[in-house]
């Protein structure tokens, strides 16, 4: 049994929408069968207005136990550190979050905005948005680098824009069923169980990546890394192992991975030439190379593969792996 309070700050509700798609378990099962008691949630909470304010005050006063604080959306600190660009129950949301974090058993930040600041924190960051315990890659954020919840953990980050519903529900179930000690977190506070392998793990175009065969929009087959900016080789997430909406993933639908589970998304802060284009070094080498490979090593290997592929084509070798049939 775990009491959960879910709040939204500088949010689009995308993580809530994603959460409502959950399958294993469904949201209703989570509540009815897994002992997750939602004290309040902005979309599916029943209380309104002063009732919510009372609840928040009761939690802060220790009259109601809050085992998990789920936070979605950026912490809005603007203008000038006041947080008044985001009022909730007549106070800046950030003030509620500060007091609630002090009494929370565990704090779970959901989605890129809550974890690392996300899109609202892209310069010029008009709302002075930041993440719960990180600002992009920088540890600290709103609660500070040293924050730990009553349960003894820092903020557990479930990034993604949005986070996958199963990442959310399964971490809630893990806490509710007393398995919190099995939740190991990495340097960016992500549960390792979901964020150790790369998006590329399980991508159907992995072989095209290995053989350096380019894909592109509106085509079947080929790798999106070289021309349209796919970040699958340097993004840790289980998107191609735990599929989205039961059916798919970005790269399975020929959509370049945006790297949204890595702090810093949107990468290169949306600079000209960074959106759905692979940023190049010397005009032809990808500027960002796969994680765990040196630039020099990568360029050398990639160069050989590219040349070999072209030579094989000239000699009429069938490249059967790379074209998918309709």
């Amino acid at each position: 049994m775990a009491n959960v309070l879910w709040l939204q700050g500088g949010a689009c509700s995308g993580n809530t929408m994603s959460f409502l798609n959950a399958e294993e378990p469904t949201v209703v099962e989570l509540i009815v069968d897994f002992g997750v008691n939602i004290l309040w949630h902005p979309s599916v909470g029943l209380e309104i207005g002063a009732q919510v304010e009372h609840l928040l005050k009761d939690i802060i006063a220790g009259k109601v136990q809050m085992d998990i604080l789920v936070y979605e959306g950026s912490i809005i600190e603007g203008p000038n550190g006041t947080g008044t660009m985001n009022y909730f129950c007549d106070r800046p949301m950030k003030d509620w979050v500060k007091e609630l974090s002090a009494v929370a058993g565990y704090v779970v930040a959901i989605g890129d905005c809550a974890t690392y600041g996300g899109i609202p924190a892209v310069p010029p960051n008009p709302s002075e948005s930041t993440g719960m315990q990180f600002h992009k890659k920088q540890k600290g954020g709103f609660l500070g680098a040293n924050y730990v919840s009553k349960g003894g953990l820092p903020v557990i980050n479930i990034p993604g824009c949005p986070a996958h519903p199963d990442w959310i529900t399964q971490i809630l179930v893990a806490i509710a069923t007393g398995r919190i000690k099995d939740v190991l977190i990495d340097e960016y506070h992500r549960p390792k169980t979901f964020f150790t392998d790369f998006v590329q793990t399980g991508c159907p175009n992995a072989i095209s990546f290995a053989q350096k065969v380019d894909g592109g929009f509106g085509k079947r087959g080929g790798c999106l890394f070289y021309e349209v900016g796919c970040r699958g080789p340097m993004t840790r997430a289980s998107c191609n192992r735990i599929l989205w909406n039961r059916t798919s993933s970005k790269t399975r639908a020929n959509h370049p991975c945006l790297g949204c589970t890595e702090p810093g998304f949107p990468h290169h802060d949306l600079a000209k030439g960074s959106v759905f284009k692979t940023m190049k070094y010397l005009g032809f080498l990808p500027k960002d190379v796969p994680t765990g490979v040196s630039k020099l090593g990568y360029y050398t290997r990639a160069g050989v593969e590219k040349v070999m592929g072209k030579v094989e084509k000239v000699f009429g070798v069938d490249q059967e792996h790379f074209e998918t049939s309709k």
Binding site: S43, V44, T84
Partner: protein, 533 residues
Amino acid sequence: MSTIKELNISPVGRVEGDLDVKVYIENGVVTRAHTQAAMFRGFEKIMEGKDPQSGLIVTPRICGICGGSHLYCASSALDTIYKTKLPPNALLLRALGQAAETIQSIPRWFYAIFATDMANKKFANKKLYDEVVKRFAAYVGTSFQSGVTASGRPVEVYALFGGQWPHSSYMVPGGVMCAPTLKDITRAHAIMNQFRNDWLETTWLGCSIERYRKVQSWDDLMAWVDENDSQRNSDLGLFIRASLEFGLDKFGQGCGNYVAYGTYLHKDKYNNPTVEGRNDALISPSGFYNHHTKKYSPFNHLDIKEHVTHSWYADQGGALHPWEEPLPTPVTSQNLEHTNFNEKYSWAKAPRYTGLAAEAGPLSRCLMYANPANLPHQTKDFLIKDAMDKMGPSVFLRTLARVHEAPILYQLIDQWLKEIDLDGEFYIKPEEKDGKGFGATEAARGALAHWVEIKDGVIKNYQVMAPTTWNVGPNDDGGKSGPIEAALEGIEIEDANDPVEVGMVARSFDSCLVCTVHAHDAKTGKELSKFKL
């Protein structure tokens, strides 16, 4: 002696961002209302000077529930700037994404956001109350779980083509990223069929989609309800009977003007996208309808202006068309309690069409389906217009319009899936250019548009106007109310400690916002009561 009260309600909407409402009550009747959007993120400002395609990534993240709709606008706006060529498959796959997102929203909104209010104790003395509670109560209602679970099905179809829902960017200028295969199409058909079997025909309609589509007038609908037990006892049948018993057809009229930008660009009629050619290429028609004069007029985006006199942005020298508007410069905001409503009081701007406040949403869309000027390829449906003529707008009619679209959309999705040509193109790479563009659609909750200017290869101006902006916007420069403000005026509040009527009106607009309630004495401003359910 008359009693005057003020009621401050913060959060009202149950979806995203925060909406606060202040209503002034005299003898139990709302005499004036103000809506306050309570959160600012500055997405338009963030895009200034950035890559021209930034809108494809950034704008879907404005709203998690309408991300596909933002993407439809962002890609369309760039199409009009780049003068792209769009293959029929691309137009079909974009329309499919938009329709999948909207049909998803119907059960999700109805059960999670709206119907739980019908289970409020305010209606406990009504005959159908027990049945309503049994089915619609949050979490434990017998239809709640199946409805919320079913709402996940259509977006699985979205994910087949877009990779995931929410927050895909698969629509790009020149077409779409994906090139589906046969198994994607057959799977999409199977998933939609599951949606029909699990919820739409069984739980919701109690009859076939084809039978329901024969309902074309209010009398038809009443006859449909009484035709058999299956229809009478379906969730739609119960919703209709309970709404009429609970009096939901009696309040929340609104401003009486309706705007729709239309959507679903026809696969063979928009292959060379232009702003001028858009109206005639739409399947779901655009338009403006004035309920007072009963007149339709064609939609022209140049007739839209935004007012900021009562919005927390620096004054911009009068109401402006979005292409002429500056990027927003925020000014100091206040909380609800300390707001002076004669001055600036909301983060929402106030859009006006030919100077008039107008309601956006399914009610507007359904009125356009009955426009006699519609072209042969455009959706025609007459139920909502007939009901409007007979009973006028209300919380009930707004909600009926929203759910009425489910069978219509199901049939369109089925047809478009059949029309995809697996041997055809999906994307034609465009040449990037500078210029001004306009992209629009109908999000589930109404008219949505982006106005974009690209200069020197980067974004110079990006203006987003959401349906919620139309509906929750504050007073305009002339002090005239926005649509939700107008819809709240005149309603009776039975219990100021639990003003469910205010919530229902706001939620009937599906305003994607959240809301809290304090009751205040008008004269002293003192809080009258604090309460718990």
